[in-house]
Symmetry: none
Subunit: 353 residues, 2 copies
C-alpha cells in the first residue's frame, strides 16, 4: 500500500499506528499574477487558495469566498483527499503555519503559528524576500516547536508553488530540466518557462545563496528549510507531504548545509507523495531526490481512483490534480492506520454527491 | 470473541480501545541443535527464526536469509497473524528485546533493547545461563521501562521454546506431565522427552533455583520473570502473549516469589493465547495456570480459519502452528479494537495470494 521511492521502508513502518500532527504551511506568492501560470484554485480567487484549503481541511467548509456559486464544478482539489483521511482516521492535531497569506483562514480553535510574514512578490520581477531573516525564523520555530503527537506531516498550499520550486532548484545550480511537475495535466509550459527564465536572469552572477533565493523562491520553501534544520535538535520525525515542491525544499536544505559548511543528520526526515506524482511521466521526483548529498527515505501512497465511477475523480487518475495540501502524506497516514483504499475512495465520493 | 480461560473478563474488557506496545522477546537456545526437536522455522535457518520473525512483524519483509527461495511453501507461521493485526489496527509501538539472538534483525527505526545476552546452550548438555544475573537484568528493565502506550503485549520468538519451557516447569517441581504443547501437530515427543529428561538429570539434587533454571531453561523465561517482577513498580498492564511457554514463565515467577519468600500482586498481569492452544487436546494450559499461587486472568482469542478456503490456512485449524510471535495476544488486540474475524482472515489471505 505504501511504496518506496528512495531509501528503505523502515522509517515509514516505524510510524505505523502512530499519531501525526498535520501542519499546513500556507503562503501566497504574487507569481500567481503572471497570466496563465496556475490553474490551482478558483479563477479570480487564486490568491485565496491557501486560505480556502486551510478552512476546508480544518472544518470541511470553504468560508472566504463571497459567493460560493462561482466555484467551477468538477475541478478536483487534493484537499478532498486530506479531509477524507482526517474524517476516517483523524490527525492528532491540525496546525497552520501562516507564511504570508493574503487573507487569514476563517477558523477558530485551531493553532495558527504567525511570524509577521507577508506574501512574496512575483519572481520574474524579484520575489523581494528577506531570505536570511525568514530562514532564521524557521530555524527558531524548529528549535522551539514541541510536537504534541508522534510525528509531523508537513504539508503546503502555495499557488504557483511548482514554478517557484523549479526556479529555486535551478538558481541553486541543480540540473533539473524536465524533472518538475505542475499540479495540472496541461502544464502551461511556455508561461512557466518564461517566468522562471526571467527570474533566473535577475540573479545571474550573484553568489550569496540567501540573496539568490530571496529573489526567485517562495516563503514556504525558505522558512521550512530553516524549520527542518532547526528540528534536528528535537529529532521529531517530519514527513514532507508533497511532490516536486517538497523535493525542491530538500534541495534548498542541501544547498544551505553545503553553503554553511555543515552536515545534516537526515534520519528523522522523509518525504511522501501521491502515486500520481511518483508515476508522472512529465516529471521525475526520484531524480530530484538522488541529487541530495544526504540519504532520504521517500515514499508514495499507492492509491488511485480506478475503483470509482465518479467522473470528477477520474480527473485525478488522468493527472488533473496530482498533489498538494498534503494529499500524499495524508493518504499514507490513513493507510498506515488501517484504512483501505476503498474506505477513502468512498469518503471522497461522499463529498461530491 | 474473547474467551476466558481463568479469572474474569474485566481485565481484558478494561483494555478495550486502548493502545498497546508490542514487545517481542527474541532468543535462541542451542537446544535447536538437537536433531528433530523443532519444526518452527525454515530448515537450516532455525537459529534465525527470532531474527526473521522480528523483521517480518516490523516491516513485512524477511531480510536475513540469503536465499528466500529455500522457504518451504505452505508452512504457516503465526507471525502472519501478528502482522495482519498490525496492518489493520496498528500497535502503538513495536519494540524488540534482544535476549540472545544469533543475528540481529535487519531493521532500523524500531526500538531494540539490548543487554549483552548471548544465545544459551542446549539444555541436555547444560544451558550455561547465569540465571541470577539475567533475572536481575530483567528486574532492572522492568523497573526502568516506561511504556509509551497503555499496556504491553509481551510476545516471544524462541525456537525449541516449548521444550525449554516444559523442562523449566518440571525442574521447579510442578507436575505438568502431558500439559505442554508443541508448536506443531506431530509433536516429536520422543526426542523432546529425551532432551528434557537429559536436562533434568543434570540438575538432580541441586536446590538453588537460579542454578537449576540456569541449566534447563532459556533466556526468554528467566529475563522476563525478572521483567514481570520489576514491572510491579509501575503497574503497567502486561499481557503475556503465548501458550504453554508463557504459562511456564508464570510458573517460574511463582517459584521465584516463593523461593524469595515474597508475594506477587498479579493484578496487572494476564495471559492471552490462541484458540488452537486453548482447545488443544495434547496440552492443558488451564491446568498449568491453576498451579499458580496467585490469581491470573487468562484468555484466548476466539479466532480460527474455518471461514477461509485457503489450504495453507487450514493447517492452522489442523494444529500445525498453534501459537508464537504473540499471535494470540495480537488477535485479541485486533478484536478488542473493532476488527472482525473476517477482516483478519482476509488480510492473512492477502499475504498468501
Amino acid at each position: 500500500m505504501i511504496e518506496t521511492i528512495t531509501g528503505k521502508k523502515d522509517f515509514i513502518e516505524s510510524l505505523r499506528g502512530k499519531k501525526a500532527t498535520f501542519m499546513l504551511a500556507l503562503s501566497t506568492s504574487k507569481t500567481i499574477e503572471v497570466e496563465g501560470i496556475t490553474q490551482a484554485g478558483i479563477p479570480d480567487f487564486i490568491h485565496l487558495t491557501p486560505t480556502l484549503d486551510a478552512e476546508f481541511v480544518c472544518t470541511g467548509e470553504v468560508r472566504s469566498i463571497p459567493n460560493l456559486a462561482q466555484t467551477p464544478k468538477g475541478v478536483p482539489t487534493p484537499a478532498l483527499l486530506t479531509r477524507a483521511t482526517h474524517l476516517l482516521h483523524p490527525f492528532g492535531n491540525i496546525e497552520l503555519l501562516d507564511l504570508g497569506m493574503d487573507t487569514k483562514a476563517k477558523v477558530e480553535y485551531f493553532k495558527e503559528h504567525s511570524f509577521n510574514i507577508t506574501p512574496s512578490s512575483r519572481i520574474d520581477k524579484g520575489a523581494n524576500i528577506n531570505a536570511m531573516e525568514l530562514f532564521e525564523k524557521g530555524v527558531e520555530f524548529g528549535k522551539e516547536y514541541k510536537c504534541k503527537d508522534d510525528y509531523i506531516l508537513l504539508a503546503e498550499s502555495v499557488p504557483s508553488g511548482t514554478t517557484t520550486a523549479e526556479a529555486t532548484a535551478l538558481s541553486l545550480g541543480y540540473s533539473v530540466e524536465g524533472y518538475f511537475s505542475s499540479s495540472f495535466k496541461d502544464v502551461p509550459n511556455d508561461v512557466k518557462k518564461q517566468t522562471i527564465s526571467d527570474a533566473l536572469k535577475r540573479v545571474e552572477g550573484r553568489d550569496d545563496l540567501f540573496d539568490i533565493v530571496g529573489s526567485v523562491s517562495d516563503n514556504m520553501l525558505i522558512f521550512n528549510a530553516g524549520f527542518i534544520l532547526g528540528s534536528t535538535y528535537s529529532k521529531t520525525p517530519i514527513v514532507l507531504c508533497g511532490g516536486t515542491q517538497m523535493a525542491s525544499l530538500l534541495l534548498l536544505v542541501n544547498s544551505i548545509v553545503n553553503y554553511m559548511g555543515g552536515e545534516l543528520d537526515s534520519k528523522h526526515i522523509a518525504l511522501c507523495t501521491t502515486k500520481w506524482v511518483a508515476t508522472d511521466e512529465n516529471s521525475n521526483i526520484k531524480a530530484l531526490l538522488e541529487m541530495l548529498d544526504f540519504p532520504i527515505n521517500a515514499y508514495y501512497a499507492n492509491f488511485d481512483f480506478s475503483s470509482s465511477l465518479h467522473p470528477a475523480l477520474k480527473l485525478y487518475d488522468e493527472g488533473e490534480a496530482k498533489e498538494g495540501v498534503g494529499a500524499g502524506g495524508a493518504l499514507m497516514y490513513g493507510l498506515l492506520n488501517g484504512l483501505s483504499e476503498d474506505n477513502i475512495v468512498k469518503q471522497v465520493e461522499k463529498f461530491l454527491s
